[in-house]
Amino acid sequence: MYIGKVVGNVVSTIKISHLDGRKLLLVNQLDLQGNETDDYDIAVDVVQAGPGDTVLVIDEGNGARQILHLDPGAIRAVIVGVVDQVALADYAPASPPTPNGKRR
């Protein structure tokens, strides 16, 4: 799972049946300081998140299928929470800040 920021809506009419009636949001992955990175996902939203929100995203197929009650289900990224607070204890940022994150 990772913490991301919703930066937009994705509108699609022609899509697979697993996505029917589901809201798709564009999410930018944040690093541990809350900065945007080059990583992103188009994620299914189940918590009524919207643009600007800091969210918790699961990017794993079995978890996604379980949340969405789909089997089979061709969905990986799901927004499963809106983050209120991130508290870091004794966190000294290494370089780079996250394994795959790049600071803008």
């Binding site: 061709a74 990986r76 870091l88």
Partner: protein
């Protein structure tokens, strides 16, 4: 799921069992700003309606095969939707994180 642009078609008459009737397209994966990122790849078209030039989204790994009519097939990238519009307001980006970010200790 990631953005991709369809840039070509692939025709294969001999395919693995379960892939009969599945259309394959050449796609260029894109970054968040819809700019090309990485090498083009071949994706199975689970919408059956995508064509060259279209902006689509793709799902990778094991979930790709689950988008197709026969679920257990050797496919690692599938087109799962055709994008009409990406609605991103730059003002939403400029705002800081909505979560409180604190460092203690």
């Amino acid at each position: 799921m990631k953005f991709a642009r369809v840039i070509g078609t692939v025709v294969a008459s001999q395919k693995a069992e379960g892939l009969e009737g599945v259309k394959f397209l050449v796609v260029q994966l894109l970054d968040e700003q819809r700019q090309p990122k990485g090498e083009p790849q071949i994706a199975a078209d689970a919408t059956a309606q995508a064509g060259p030039g279209e902006l689509v989204f793709v799902v990778g790994s094991r979930e790709a095969a689950q988008a197709l009519p026969v679920v257990f097939v050797p496919v690692d990238l599938a087109i799962t939707g055709i994008i009409d519009e990406v609605d991103a307001d730059p003002a939403d980006r400029r705002r800081g994180p909505t979560a409180a970010w604190t460092t203690s200790g």
